[in-house]
Symmetry: none
DNA sequence: GCAATCGCTTAAAATTGCCTTAAGACCACG
DNA sequence: CGTGGTCTTAAGGCAATTTTAAGCGATTGC
């Protein structure tokens, strides 16, 4: 899921980007209206987060131009508290929702999810499972059987990635890019170290095949 | 007591929010039907105030969907229509009461109080516990064993937040937003200082695991 | 069967993030 | 206007996490 944030305040943009990436979104950021518009038209996004006040083009204008070009990407406005009256104009221009700053991050997430699942299938619970292993994204917990397993951030991220692609083979390259955010060259053995840690903590013996090694390719989570 | 207002007119929403907050309610506001529905399903509210006319989903549809999902939260409609037929439909859909706009704020308050004390939950005492630690929201007291522990406002709020989510991992982000009401960026060390104060006052040694640190994520209250 | 490659395991270095303390800012109260 | 308490900021020390590195065992291809 790729999102685009059009927001000129670097602090807020960074905050949003980081938070959303932790929720497994791929996030691009544009700092001005024209830059954002160009990006939004250049490639397909699942959703746009647009600040109301922007240098170059206002958020409203960005929205209008997109809709005029028959771009129907869901769009949520981020608007300052006292500008709420304006947002009616925004909704008329084809925005799907708006949220007042300051807002709770969870509320934003909730609204994003609403937009993303409206056209598609209903509510995906953020919970993954393979065999006796259950991973809960919201509370950042992992259980095997009834027992809770304490994992570090990276361990959790790696397991989450494998479980999100259960049944599929994850190539080392993809894992490094998505879990470690390393996009060029990979010659380290980090993945191996972490797979080892995961298997140890989850007490997976050689006969357990929930986390399989695909030699020469990568790894796969399988029931 | 947390209420949710689903109302698209910003002026009315602000008016209600402010008035109710002065009455010591915690108030969330959603501006559209879908956003409100999502919020209402995402967390438990003591009561919902729902406008009849909403963008996205009508108040009636929100109500129907909630009840269909076995959500029994008391719900009061705010309706501008004097057409009695509509409100009957609302009550049949599972609403608990309705009030016609314009209304006197005192009247609304009175109806809210009726709903909150009358039916379903007979005054559930707001009380949370982890191990030997008991927190009473109503009297603002905390005990460990039989001994009363004096906490400051923020200490209490932090402990309350953790206990309300007992068993779950609370991210620093969520804590900062919900306890401190700080949005965008949380690079302060306030949480650490307060966790330290809490543990000290509650005399939790290293071996006590009621308030655990989840490194890189946040904290969790656990039995 | 042998060499080469790949993955597993362990240990230690580098880094990050939390704990703790102290001091200043702020506020309510006398 | 001072006092006491609460809240926030900042910094050093320390411990857990993350990364790097290297030796060993297993698997593959010839």
């Amino acid at each position: 899921m790729r999102l685009l944030i059009i927001e000129d305040e670097p602090g807020i943009a960074r905050f949003l980007k980081q938070g959303l990436e932790e929720e497994a979104f791929a996030v691009d950021v544009a700092g001005t209206g024209p830059a954002g518009l160009a990006l939004a038209q250049a490639q397909p996004y699942a959703l746009l987060l647009v600040d109301w006040m922007l240098p170059g083009l206002s958020g409203l204008e960005v929205c209008q131009q997109l809709r005029a070009a028959h771009n129907r990407t869901p769009l949520i406005f981020l608007t300052a508290r006292d500008a709420v009256a304006d947002t009616i104009a925004g909704l008329q221009a084809g925005a799907n929702d708006y949220i007042k700053k300051p807002f709770h991050f969870e509320e934003l997430l909730e609204r994003i999810r609403v937009q993303l699942r409206a056209p598609g299938p209903p509510a995906a619970p953020e919970r993954f499972q393979v065999g006796p292993i259950v991973l809960d994204v919201a509370t950042h917990q992992v259980h095997k059987g009834g027992e809770e397993i304490m994992l570090t951030q990276k361990e959790f991220a790696l397991l989450e990635y494998l479980l999100r692609h259960k049944g599929k083979v994850c190539r080392r390259q993809s894992i490094i890019e998505n879990v470690w955010d390393i996009h060029f060259e990979y010659n380290t053995g980090v993945i191996d170290v972490y797979m080892n840690a995961l298997r140890k903590k989850l007490k997976l013996g050689k006969e357990d095949e929930y986390l399989q090694t695909i030699r020469g390719i990568g790894y796969a989570a399988r029931d």
